[in-house]
């Protein structure tokens, strides 16, 4: 039985009332989005080093795999050696057409939410994206969306991708302040 996402797991932007301190609200919005960003389902493929992790306990990926030159695995041991274009229930192997680990500049593991926030805003580390493009990526990218459709018994990221996208949009609209 597949685990399911619950919208109640993530607060909506409306539940963060405007305050005199706009930056404080912005920080609170990002912290809420951080429940997704720092969920193992997302962190597993944002490793600091060469090796992704897996599972809610974030153990090293087994078998041993490395990001390789293009973040899609080593020669002879590509992500696609095992991961196909969709989750494959007979073997329990997750899949997506764009399966890969995030570039090292987008590493999230072992970093505070404040550090991740600054990294996400930095075009030098985020793939040259504007804040609007970041919002689009978070809200609509289909590999990001896999986090809510992981298949098997894997726990999905909190809430829904639409809720996550709304939080990121509200964070940007409120000044994109980062947690301290």
């Amino acid at each position: 039985m597949a685990a399911t996402a619950h919208s109640a797991d993530l607060r909506s932007p409306d539940s963060f009332p405007p305050t005199a301190d706009r930056a404080e609200r912005s920080r609170a919005l990002f912290s809420e989005a951080g429940k997704v960003i720092q969920h193992p389902r997302c962190l597993n493929c944002h490793p600091v080093g060469e090796r992704p992790t897996q599972g809610t306990d974030m153990h090293p990926h087994n078998p041993l795999v490395v990001r390789g030159a293009d973040d899609k695995g080593a020669v002879g041991m590509r992500c696609t050696t095992c991961h196909q274009v969709d989750n494959f229930e007979p073997s329990g192997t997750p899949g997506h057409p764009l399966w890969h680990v995030a570039p090292t500049s987008m590493a999230w593991q072992q970093r505070s939410l404040a550090q991740i926030c600054e990294q996400i805003k930095d075009p030098g580390k985020n793939g040259g994206k504007s804040l609007a493009q970041i919002q689009e990526h978070m809200a609509h990218d289909s590999l990001v969306g896999w986090g809510w459709r992981p298949g098997g018994t894997r726990e999905p990221a909190p809430g829904t991708q639409a809720q996550f996208g709304a939080l990121i949009a509200a964070w940007i609209e409120s000044g994109a302040a980062c947690p301290r």
């Binding site: 087994n62 078998p63 041993l64 795999v65 490395v66 390789g68 080593a74 020669v75 002879g76 041991m77 590509r78 696609t80 050696t81 095992c82 196909q84 274009v85 494959f88 007979p90 073997s91 329990g92 192997t93």
Partner: protein, 152 residues
């Protein structure tokens, strides 16, 4: 539902559910039993085949994923590189129980097709997903180096 495959250069048809693991079709429907079932969850590498020259764990791919693509199993491995690997395997007496060896040879051949002179690190990374319960890893590595030397 009929699924058409090109396996070892021949078009083959199988009357199966498109979501059937490729391994099942290869072994049960096409009778090519050189490809082994080990774990069924992409953890051991015994079921490795090539699809368009790239290694693929056939237990973890639906047969529909390879429709129209070139599938090579251990029975059809015949390139110069593959022959060098097979000779090195015999020369160094790599095999102990042998159950994992078709998967090992598929992965080793794919590696040497891409990196003709692999380093130990290249070998470790490419072969990490092929488990050998007899722990013949040292001979596997030596045989890959030996095959590389004969191909130089």
């Amino acid at each position: 539902m009929p699924v058409s495959l090109t396996v070892n250069g021949q078009r083959r048809d199988a009357e199966v559910d498109p979501n059937t693991p490729l391994l099942w079709v290869i072994r049960e429907d096409l009778g090519l039993t050189g490809t082994k079932y080990g774990c069924g969850i992409a953890q051991c590498g015994a079921c490795t085949v090539h699809v368009e020259g790239e290694p693929l764990r056939s237990c973890s791919a639906p047969v529909s994923a390879v429709a129209g693509k070139r599938v090579t199993t251990i029975e059809g491995l015949s390139s110069r590189t593959a022959k060098a690997v097979q000779k090195a395997w015999v020369d160094l007496d790599v095999v102990q129980c042998g159950y994992c060896q078709s998967g090992q040879i598929m992965s080793a051949t794919a590696l040497l097709e891409k990196i003709p002179k692999p380093s130990d690190t290249d070998i470790d990374r490419a072969m990490a997903g092929n488990i050998c319960r007899c722990a013949t890893y040292h001979r596997i590595r030596a045989a890959i180096h030996a095959a590389a030397a004969t191909l130089a």
